[in-house]
C-alpha cells in the first residue's frame, strides 16, 4: 500500500529541484515518508567553463553560479585567488567586502522568509475579508476580489493557486503577514541598494576583486549605507522576528519535524581584523561534539550523481565529467561528505557550531536570551522552525554588526591592494554564504586556471546518497514526515524550504 509522491517542480526555492518520496500509510490516516530523494534537475558546468581562463575572470564568472547569492561566490573566489597570489585584503577592502556580503545576507534571508517560505504557512485568502484601513491591504483585497468577481482563470497569481493545507487560522495574523510580505519586497530591494553602494551593482558585483573592492569609500557612500541599514534593522527587529514568532506560535509541531542528519559544518564568515578571527565562527559538529574544521576532510562522492563514476575526491583533485544518463544516478548534485558524514550547513549550522564551541561566544548568550522566554531548549532548534529562527536571528546579528564595520572604515582611502599574477599556484577560499558553507579550490598553471572546483552550501544540504547509501541532510529530514494528503504534500515543502535550497548553486 506504499505510495510514491513526486513534487516536481518544487517552487519557491532557487533553481530546479524535484523531491521524490516513498510513503506508506500511517495510523493517523495520512502517509508517512519512508525514504526521500532530492533530485537536482539542472546542470551548467562552471568548473569546465573556468578551465584555461585567466584567473581574474573567476570572481566574475563564479558569481553567475547564483543570482541570489553571487556575493559569497565572489568572496570565496577572491579568497582562493588571494591565497594563490599571497595577498590579503587591506583594512578598507576587508570592511567593504564584509558590508557587501552583509547586505547580501539581509536581502537573502528576508526574501527567503517572506517570499519563498511564508506562502506555505500564511493564508493569503484572508485578505479578502480585510475590513481595516491599511492602504496596502485594502489594495490587495480589491485586487484579489476583482479577479475573483470577474472569474479570472488566473486570479491572484502568483499567490494562487496553492495546495490545500493547514494554514494560519488567525485572521488578523494572516492579514498582518500578508501586509508584511508586501513591505518585505521593498525592504529586500533596499538591501540590494546597500550592496550596490560599495559593490557597484547587484546581482553580480563588478567591484569585488582579489585584495578588496574597487569602490573608494567616501562619507557620502557610508551615510547612504547607514541610512538604509537603519531602516532594514528596524524591519528585522519590529517585523521579521515578531512574524517568525507568530508563525511558530501557530505551528509549534514544526519544532519537532525535520531534524535532518544532526551534523553541522561552518567555515566561518566576516573577517574581523587582520588576523584569522571571524564574526561568525567556524567549526564542525558530529554527534554533538565540536571540532575545528579540517578542509582536507572534505570529499565529493558521486555514487548517485550524474557524473563519471569514481571514488570520492577532495575538491582540489575532483573532476566534473557529466554523464546525464548514468544508470542509478538521480541527481545533478554531487554528495559532499566531511569525514564521510553528511553535514547540514546554513544558519542553523552556524548557530549550532558556535553554540557548541567550548570557547563560549557572544552567540551562545544571544541564543539563550532569545530562547529563554519561549521556554525552548536549544535542541529544539534542530527542526524546520529552528532553521527559520536561526536565519532570523542571524539577520539581526549581522545587521547590528554591519554598523560597527561602517564605523571602522578609513574614509577616502583605497580599498584595494596591488598583487602579482603567479605563473603556477594554488589556493582555496572558504566562506559562508547565506545558505551555508562555501568553498572554491583553484589551481593555476601557466597563468591560467588549470583546475577549479566549488563545493556549495546546497550541495551539502540537498546532496543525494553517497556510496555508503547515506542520505543527504534534506533527504534525512524528510524521513518520518507524515503527509495528510499525498496529492498535496504541503508538509514536505515546508521541510525542504526550511533549508533555503539553491539548486543553481548546488550543481554549478
Amino acid at each position: 500500500m506504499s505510495r510514491t509522491v513526486e513534487i516536481s517542480p518544487l517552487t519557491r526555492i532557487e533553481g530546479h529541484l524535484a523531491v521524490h518520496l516513498e510513503t506508506e500509510p500511517d495510523e493517523s490516516s495520512g502517509f508517512r515518508v519512508k525514504a526521500a530523494r532530492c533530485e537536482g534537475e539542472m546542470y551548467r558546468g562552471f568548473e569546465q567553463i573556468l578551465r584555461h581562463r585567466d584567473p581574474l575572470d573567476a570572481q566574475q564568472i563564479t558569481q553567475r553560479i547564483c543570482g541570489v547569492c553571487p556575493i559569497p561566490h565572489a568572496i570565496a573566489s577572491v579568497r582562493a585567488q588571494e591565497m594563490a597570489y599571497g595577498i590579503r585584503q587591506n583594512h578598507n577592502g576587508r570592511l567593504l567586502q564584509n558590508l557587501i556580503l552583509a547586505a547580501n545576507y539581509l536581502h537573502s534571508h528576508i526574501l527567503h522568509f517572506y517570499h519563498l517560505a511564508a506562502l506555505d504557512f500564511v493564508d493569503v485568502t484572508a485578505v479578502l475579508n480585510y475590513q481595516g484601513s491599511d492602504r496596502t491591504l485594502k489594495a490587495l483585497k480589491n485586487w484579489a476580489a476583482e479577479a475573483v468577481a470577474r472569474s479570472d482563470p488566473f486570479a491572484a497569481a502568483p499567490l494562487l493557486p496553492r495546495y490545500d493545507g493547514d494554514y494560519v487560522k488567525d485572521a488578523d495574523r494572516n492579514q498582518r503577514l500578508v501586509a508584511h510580505y508586501a513591505e518585505a519586497l521593498e525592504i529586500r530591494r533596499i538591501c540590494d541598494e546597500m550592496a550596490a553602494i560599495f559593490g557597484a551593482r547587484v546581482p553580480h558585483s563588478t567591484a569585488i576583486v582579489p585584495g578588496g573592492v574597487t569602490q573608494v569609500p567616501t562619507a557620502e557612500r557610508v551615510l547612504s549605507y547607514a541610512g538604509r541599514l537603519k531602516r532594514v534593522l528596524d524591519f528585522i527587529e519590529a517585523v521579521y522576528l515578531p512574524d517568525l514568532l507568530e508563525v511558530a506560535t501557530e505551528f509549534p509541531q514544526y519544532f519537532e519535524i525535520g531534524r535532518g542528519c544532526g551534523n553541522f559544518l561552518s567555515f566561518g564568515v566576516f573577517e574581523q581584523d587582520a588576523g584569522d578571527s571571524k564574526f561568525i565562527g567556524a567549526g564542525a559538529v558530529i554527534n554533538r561534539k565540536w571540532e575545528a574544521v579540517d578542509q582536507a576532510a572534505i570529499a565529493e562522492d558521486v555514487a548517485a550523481s550524474r557524473y563519471a563514476p569514481g571514488p570520492a575526491q577532495h575538491p582540489s583533485r575532483g573532476q566534473t565529467q557529466p554523464q546525464p544518463a548514468r544508470p542509478g544516478a538521480y541527481s545533478w548534485l554531487k554528495a559532499p561528505r566531511y569525514r564521510g558524514q553528511p553535514m547540514e550547513v546554513g544558519p542553523l549550522a552556524r548557530v549550532m557550531v558556535n553554540y557548541l564551541n567550548p570557547s563560549a561566544t557572544w552567540l551562545r548568550r544571544e541564543v539563550d536570551a532569545f530562547l529563554a522566554p519561549l521556554n525552548l531548549p536549544v535542541e529544539k532548534l534542530i527542526s524546520v522552525l529552528g532553521r527559520h529562527v536561526a536565519r532570523g536571528l542571524e539577520a539581526l546579528w549581522i545587521a547590528r554588526q554591519a554598523g560597527k564595520w561602517l564605523d571602522q572604515i578609513e574614509l577616502d582611502a583605497p580599498a584595494t591592494c596591488d598583487f602579482e599574477l603567479p605563473k603556477s599556484a594554488s589556493g582555496f577560499g572558504l566562506t559562508e554564504a547565506p545558505r551555508g558553507a562555501l568553498g572554491h579550490w583553484l589551481t593555476i598553471e601557466n597563468y591560467r586556471i588549470e583546475h577549479y572546483q566549488c563545493v556549495v552550501p546546497t550541495t551539502w544540504n540537498c546532496s543525494p546518497r553517497d556510496s555508503q547509501g547515506k542520505p543527504g541532510p534534506v533527504e534525512a529530514a524528510l524521513e518520518g514526515l507524515v503527509l495528510r494528503d499525498p496529492s498535496q504534500p504541503i508538509e514536505a515543502g515546508r521541510v525542504v524550504r526550511s533549508f533555503d535550497p539553491c539548486l543553481a548553486c548546488a550543481v554549478h
Binding site: 517542480p9 518544487l10 517552487t11 519557491r12 533553481g15 524535484a18 534537475e41 539542472m42 546542470y43 551548467r44 558546468g45 562552471f46 569546465q48 567553463i49 575572470d57 564568472i61 553567475r64 547564483c66 543570482g67 541570489v68 553571487p70 519563498l116 493569503v124 492602504r135 496596502t136 489594495a139 490587495l140 485586487w143 488566473f154 497569481a157 502568483p158 493557486p161 496553492r162 495546495y163 508586501a182 519586497l185 521593498e186 530591494r189 540590494d192 553602494i197 560599495f198 557597484a200 551593482r201 547587484v202 546581482p203 558585483s205 563588478t206 567591484a207 574597487t214 569602490q215 550524474r306 557529466p322 546525464p324 544518463a325 545533478w332 584595494t416 602579482e420 599574477l421 597563468y447 504534500p489
Partner: protein
C-alpha cells in the same frame, strides 16, 4: 547626470494619469526618448495596469539573477509589478503553486494563449537532460510555451545570447532562446525581443513590456533583436570618464581615477544605457564604482576563454586578442 530614482513609497494607492506620466517621463528620460517617448511609455504603463498582461516566466539554465534583478524594479515598484502591472501567472521562485499543480497551471496558460513568455537562462540543446522538469527535458514544455506566446522576451544574456552557460568549453551545448526557436521552426520575427544584461536590468524589462503594451513591437537591432531605445548606444560613448579616454589618462590600478580601458574596461563593446540609469535605483554602477565594464550585454559576453575581462595578464604573458578588439574597432 542626476540619477536618483523617484522613490515609490506608496505601494498600491491607485495611480493617477499624472503618476503614469511621471513614471513614464522618468523611464523615457533614462532612455533619451524625449517628450513623445514619455507619453508612449506612460500610455504603456497605464495599459499594463489596466489590462494586466498575462505573464509566464520560465527558467532553464539560469542563476535566477534576472529574477532577483526584476524584484529590484523601482518605478513601478516590486509589488506593483507582481500584482498590478502583470498577472504573473507562474514564476518558479515566487509562485505558491508547486508540483503537478504548477505544471497544470503552466499548461492551462499555454492553452489559454495571449501571454508574454519571459525566458530566463540558456537552453541545453546539446544535453537535454541538463534541464529536467518532472523528469522530462524541459525543452518540450519550453517548445509549447514559445509556440503559443503572443510575445517572447529573452530576459538576460543567457536567454538572449546563451551567456556564461554557452561559453567556450561548455558541455551542455547551451544556446539562446532565438537559436532554440529557429531550430524548432517557431517564428521569431516580431515575436522575440532580446533584453540582455547579466543580470538584465529591471528597467529594461519594465520599459520593454510598457512599450509593447502601448505601441507593439519596438524598433530593434536587426541582428541582435535588442530594443534600440535601451541598447542603442555604447557605454563608452556616454561614459562619464570619456574625457580621460580622450586625454589618454588611464587608471593603472583599481580604485584610481582615469579611464579604465587599460584595466580591461569593455565599454566600447557594451551597448546599453548603464551610464544613464545606473543600477539599484541609481545608487551606483560599475564604472562609477571604479569597476571596469565587462560588456555583460554583449552577444560575446564571457564567450572566449582567451579574452579575459581584465588586462593584468598582459604584463606576464602573451595574449591572443588584439587591443583593437577591445576598442571595438574593425582593424
Amino acid at each position: 547626470m542626476a540619477t536618483t530614482a523617484p522613490t515609490t513609497t506608496r505601494s498600491l494607492r491607485s495611480f493617477t494619469r499624472r503618476d503614469f506620466l511621471r513614471a513614464g517621463a522618468f523611464l523615457a528620460g533614462l532612455y533619451g526618448l524625449g517628450r513623445t517617448g514619455a507619453v508612449t511609455l506612460a500610455e504603456g504603463l497605464q495599459r499594463l495596469f489596466e489590462r494586466k498582461q498575462l505573464v509566464l516566466w520560465l527558467q532553464c539554465q539560469s542563476c535566477s539573477g534576472c529574477s532577483v534583478s526584476f524584484l529590484n524594479a523601482d518605478h513601478p515598484g516590486p509589488l506593483d509589478v507582481i500584482t498590478r502591472m502583470a498577472s504573473l501567472v507562474y514564476h518558479p521562485n515566487l509562485s505558491a503553486t508547486q508540483g503537478e499543480q504548477a505544471i497544470e497551471t503552466i499548461r492551462k496558460l499555454i492553452r489559454h494563449g495571449h501571454y508574454v513568455l519571459i525566458c530566463e537562462g540558456a537552453i541545453p540543446l546539446g544535453m537535454p537532460q541538463a534541464c529536467l522538469l518532472a523528469g522530462q527535458p524541459m525543452l518540450e514544455l519550453l517548445n509549447d510555451a514559445l509556440r503559443n506566446a503572443s510575445l517572447v522576451v529573452a530576459a538576460g544574456s543567457c536567454a538572449a545570447f546563451a551567456g556564461i552557460p554557452g561559453a567556450e568549453g561548455n558541455a551542455t551545448g547551451a544556446v539562446c532562446v532565438r537559436d532554440f526557436m529557429e531550430k524548432r521552426d517557431i517564428p521569431v520575427d516580431k515575436r522575440l525581443i532580446n533584453c540582455p544584461g547579466c543580470p538584465c536590468h529591471p528597467d529594461s524589462l519594465v520599459a520593454t513590456l510598457a512599450y509593447v503594451a502601448a505601441r507593439g513591437y519596438p524598433k530593434v537591432n536587426p541582428q541582435l533583436l535588442t530594443p534600440d531605445m535601451i541598447y542603442g548606444r555604447s557605454v563608452h560613448d556616454d561614459c562619464p570618464r570619456f574625457h580621460y579616454w580622450q586625454k589618454n589618462a588611464f587608471a593603472q590600478r583599481f580604485g584610481e581615477e582615469g579611464c579604465l580601458f587599460k584595466l580591461g574596461c569593455l565599454g566600447p563593446l557594451s551597448y546599453t544605457n548603464c551610464p544613464h540609469r545606473q543600477w539599484n535605483g541609481g545608487i551606483n554602477w560599475c564604472i562609477r564604482a571604479g569597476a571596469p565594464c565587462i560588456a555583460c550585454t554583449s552577444p560575446e559576453f564571457a564567450r572566449r576563454r582567451d579574452f579575459a575581462f581584465y588586462r593584468l595578464g598582459e604584463k606576464y604573458h602573451a595574449v591572443t586578442y588584439h587591443e583593437h578588439e577591445r576598442r571595438g574597432d574593425k582593424s
